[in-house]
C-alpha cells in the first residue's frame, strides 16, 4: 500500500515534469528512467515551485459565473452568493452518490441559511436530462437555487473532475474548501467545516 501511494506521488511530480521537458524523456525508455540533465533539473525546480504554490496559495477565486436557473432565468453568482459563505454542490440526476447526498445538503441549508450560508446546486446533466431536473429537484425538496451548467463550463473553470463535488467560497469569493465524491458521513465533515469558517468569519468581523 505504501508503495502504491509513494508511486502516486512520484507519478504526480513526474507528470508535471514531463509536460515541461518532453525531450528529457526518451519515448523508448520506461517512465522512471529519468535522465537528470540540466533541463530536467530546471523542471524539478518548476515542479517544486508548483508544489509550493499548491500548498501555500490554495484558493482559486470563484468566478462571477452566470447560469440559467430552473425557471430559465439567467442569474449570476454575485446575485446568489451567501453573506458569509457559499456552498456549491455539483450534481447530476444519474449520479447515485450525488442523489444520496442531496437530502443531507437540504438539511444543512435549512440549518445554516439564516447564518449567512447560501447553498447553490449546479446541475451537470447537460441537455439530455434538462427537463427532468426541475421536477427531480422539487420532489427532493431542494429549497436552494439550482443552476444548469450545460456545457460543464463552470465545472471546467473550477477544475472539478469528480461527482459530486462540494466547494465552499468565503465572502471574498476565495475557495476555501474543495471536496470530491460523497461518502456517508461527509455531511458531518461539511458541517464542521461550515462551523469553523463561520467562526473565522465572525472573528474577522469583530476585528
Amino acid at each position: 500500500m505504501l508503495f502504491v501511494f509513494g508511486c502516486v506521488h512520484e507519478c504526480q511530480a513526474i507528470c508535471i515534469l514531463k509536460f515541461c521537458a518532453p525531450k528529457t524523456f526518451s519515448t523508448r525508455t520506461s517512465f522512471f528512467q529519468m535522465n537528470l540533465n540540466e533541463g530536467a533539473m530546471r523542471n524539478i525546480i518548476f515542479a517544486i515551485f508548483l508544489f509550493i504554490v499548491a500548498t501555500t496559495a490554495f484558493a482559486g477565486k470563484m468566478p462571477n459565473f452566470r447560469l440559467q436557473n430552473l425557471d430559465n432565468k439567467t442569474v449570476s453568482y454575485s446575485q446568489l452568493k451567501g453573506k458569509k459563505l457559499t456552498v456549491i454542490d455539483f450534481w447530476a440526476t444519474w449520479c447515485k452518490p450525488c442523489v444520496r447526498s442531496i437530502p443531507k445538503l437540504v438539511k444543512l441549508h435549512e440549518q445554516y441559511e439564516k447564518q449567512g450560508v447560501q447553498f447553490i446546486g449546479v446541475n451537470v446533466d447537460g441537455t439530455r436530462n434538462q427537463p427532468k431536473v426541475k421536477p427531480f429537484a422539487r420532489s427532493l425538496k431542494i429549497a436552494y437555487p439550482v443552476l444548469f451548467d450545460l456545457n460543464n463550463d463552470l465545472m471546467n473553470k473550477l477544475k472539478v473532475t469528480a461527482m459530486p463535488t462540494l466547494i465552499i467560497a468565503n465572502a471574498e469569493d476565495e475557495i476555501v474548501f474543495f471536496h470530491q465524491g460523497y461518502r456517508p458521513g461527509d455531511e458531518k465533515t461539511l458541517e464542521e467545516e461550515i462551523k469553523k469558517l463561520l467562526a473565522a468569519a465572525e472573528r474577522a468581523d469583530e476585528k
Partner: protein, 498 residues
C-alpha cells in the same frame, strides 16, 4: 520548447497574485492492457494539466496534454487549449478555445467531461474528453435580451491531439443566436448557423420557445432545419433535413413529471448534440445497454415520473421509445424502467429496480433487468453499500441465444477521505466470451474482478486506484455516451486541484 516557454510566461504572469491562479491536474498511469490483446503489458501514462489565471474580469486558460507509452511512436505533448476570456455583468468575450451551446444543442453543442479520458481504439492513444470550438465568441446577456455571436472550428474528438489540426477541425462555423424575453416567463429564440467545409457551404436556422406556466409547468420547443436545398419551412417529413424537440415538465406536491418528443432527420452535423431522450441510468447493466441516437433519422418519446415522500421513500418510472431507420429498416428501442427506494431508517436505504427493454438495432430482444442496492451508515462516519444487478436478453444470431449478465459491487467508506470497493461481473454473452485472436468460438462464461481504492489526501489531492479486470462497453456521463475499453491490470489516477 514553445510549450515550456508558454507555461513559464503564464506562471510568471500570475506573479503578484497567486490566489488568482488555479491549477487542475489529472494524471493516469496504467500497467496492463485490453484482454486478448498483444503485447499483454501496454503500459501508458496520460496527463492533463489545466492552468487558469484570473485578473479582474480577464481570465487566461491553457490545457496541456501528454501521452506516453514505452516503445511507441504515438506519444505526444500538446498544448491542446489556450484561451483568453473577458466577462463582466453583461458581456462575455472568448478568444481561443471555448465551449458553447445553441438552444438545446440541435445546431451546436460543445462540452467537456472533466476527468474523463478517451482512448482511440485503433491507435490506442489516450486524450481528454472534450469537444471545444477554436475561434471567437461574443455574448451579451440582459434581462430581456441574450445575443450570441461565434465563429470557430469545432473539434472532432474522434481524432487524438497528435493528428493533424486540419483533420480534427474540418468545419468552420459562424453562428448567431438571440433570445428575447418580452413577456414575463416566456422566451423566444432564433439562431442561424453557417458551416463551411472544403468549399461547401451549408446554412441552418432554428427557432425556439420556452415558457413557465402556472402550477410549475414548463414548456420548451425547438425546431431547426437546413436552409435552402429545397427544404420547405417547418417541414417534418423525411424529405427535409430537420430536428424538432419539445418537452413539458411539471411538479405537483411530491410528484414530478417530464415528457419529451424528438423528430430528427438528416441532421448529423458532427458538432451538434440533439437531446437523445434516452434515460441515463446510474446502474451499470442498464447504462451499458444504452441506445446511441441516430440524428440521421430518429423519432421518439420519453416520459418520466418521480415521487419523493417526506419519509425519504422514492419511486421513478420511465418509458422511452425511439424509432430509427439508419439502414432503411425500422429499428425500435423501447424501455420500461421502475425504481423504488425505501428509507428503512435514518441510516439504511434500499433501492430496487426493474427494467424491460428491446433494441432491434442490437438484435436484443426480451431484455429484462433487475437490481438491488443497499446502503447503510455506521457510527464513526463509516458507510457500506452493496449493489447487485442482473440482466438477461435473447440475441438470435450468436451461438448462445440467451445472454445473462451479473454485477455485484461492494464498497466500504470512511468519510471524509477513504473508500474501497470490489466489483465482480460475469457474462454469458458470446460477443464477450469469444477471444477474437483464436479461430474457435469460446462460449465459457467470462468473469471480471476488480478492486478500487480512493483516498482524498486533502482539499488538493485525490487518488484513485484500480486493480484487476474491468469490463468495457458503452457508458454515458453528463449526457454524452462513449465507448469504454476493457482493461486488465493496475491503474492509478491522481487528481490535483488548487
Amino acid at each position: 520548447m514553445k510549450n515550456r516557454l508558454f507555461i513559464w510566461l503564464f506562471i510568471f504572469g500570475a506573479g503578484r497574485a497567486w490566489a488568482q491562479l488555479a491549477i487542475g491536474n489529472t494524471a493516469e498511469y496504467q500497467v496492463g492492457n485490453l484482454p486478448f490483446e498483444k503485447p499483454n503489458d501496454l503500459t501508458a501514462f496520460y496527463n492533463q494539466l489545466n492552468l487558469s489565471y484570473q485578473w479582474r474580469d480577464w481570465r487566461g486558460n491553457i490545457k496541456l496534454e501528454r501521452f506516453q507509452r514505452p516503445r511507441n511512436d504515438k506519444d505526444y505533448t500538446e498544448l491542446t487549449q489556450r484561451s483568453l476570456q473577458y466577462a463582466n455583468r453583461n458581456f462575455n468575450l472568448a478568444l481561443g478555445n471555448f465551449y458553447e451551446i445553441i438552444g438545446r444543442g440541435l445546431l451546436l453543442r460543445s462540452y467537456e467531461i472533466p476527468g474523463a479520458i478517451l482512448e482511440n481504439p485503433g491507435q490506442r492513444i489516450r486524450y481528454g474528453f472534450y469537444r471545444d470550438i477554436d475561434g471567437a465568441l461574443l455574448k451579451y446577456q440582459s434581462e430581456r435580451l441574450d445575443l450570441k455571436l461565434l465563429r470557430g472550428k469545432p473539434l472532432l474528438n474522434t481524432f487524438p491531439p497528435n493528428f493533424a489540426g486540419d483533420l480534427r477541425r474540418r468545419h468552420l462555423v459562424d453562428a448567431v443566436e438571440t433570445k428575447l424575453r418580452l413577456i414575463p416567463d416566456w422566451a423566444a429564440g432564433g439562431a442561424y448557423l453557417r458551416d463551411r467545409r472544403g468549399g461547401k457551404l451549408k446554412e441552418y436556422g432554428a427557432v425556439s420557445l420556452s415558457g413557465n406556466l402556472p402550477h410549475e409547468i414548463q414548456l420548451y420547443a425547438e425546431y431547426a432545419q437546413r436552409l435552402g436545398g429545397g427544404n420547405k419551412r417547418f417541414d417534418l417529413s423525411d424529405r427535409s433535413s430537420h430536428a424538432f424537440y419539445t418537452s413539458v415538465n411539471f411538479v405537483a406536491g411530491p410528484f414530478g413529471l417530464s415528457a419529451e418528443f424528438k423528430d430528427y432527420n438528416d441532421f448529423f452535423l458532427q458538432y451538434n448534440d440533439p437531446p437523445p431522450l434516452i434515460k441515463e441510468h446510474p446502474y451499470a447493466v442498464l447504462n451499458r445497454s444504452t441506445h446511441f441516437i441516430e440524428p440521421r433519422n430518429e423519432t421518439g418519446w420519453q416520459m418520466e415520473i418521480f415521487l419523493n415522500t417526506a419519509q425519504g421513500h422514492t419511486a421513478v418510472f420511465n418509458w422511452t421509445r425511439a424509432d430509427s431507420r439508419p439502414f432503411q429498416k425500422n429499428n425500435r428501442f423501447e424501455e420500461w424502467f421502475a425504481e423504488f427506494g425505501y428509507a428503512l431508517d435514518e441510516q439504511t436505504t434500499v433501492k430496487t429496480f426493474f427494467d424491460r427493454s428491446e433494441d432491434q438495432l442490437l438484435f436484443e430482444k426480451n431484455r429484462y433487468a433487475a437490481g438491488l442496492y443497499l446502503e447503510r451508515e455506521w457510527p464513526q462516519q463509516l458507510g457500506t453499500s452493496l449493489d447487485l444487478e442482473y440482466q438477461t436478453f435473447t440475441r438470435d444470431f450468436t451461438p448462445s441465444h440467451q445472454v445473462k449478465n451479473y454485477i455485484a459491487t461492494m464498497t466500504v467508506s470512511k468519510a471524509p477521505r477513504l473508500s474501497a470497493g470490489v466489483i465482480w461481473e460475469r457474462t454469458t454473452d458470446p460477443l464477450q466470451t469469444d477471444n477474437p485472436q483464436t479461430a474457435a468460438a469460446e462460449t465459457k462464461p467470462r468473469h471480471w474482478l476488480g478492486y478500487t481504492l480512493g483516498y482524498q489526501f486533502s482539499n488538493h489531492y485525490l487518488i484513485n486506484l484500480f486493480y484487476g479486470k474491468r469490463r468495457g462497453g458503452p457508458a454515458c456521463t453528463s449526457g454524452i455516451c462513449y465507448e469504454v475499453l476493457d482493461f486488465e491490470g493496475l491503474e492509478i489516477r491522481a487528481n490535483l486541484t488548487f
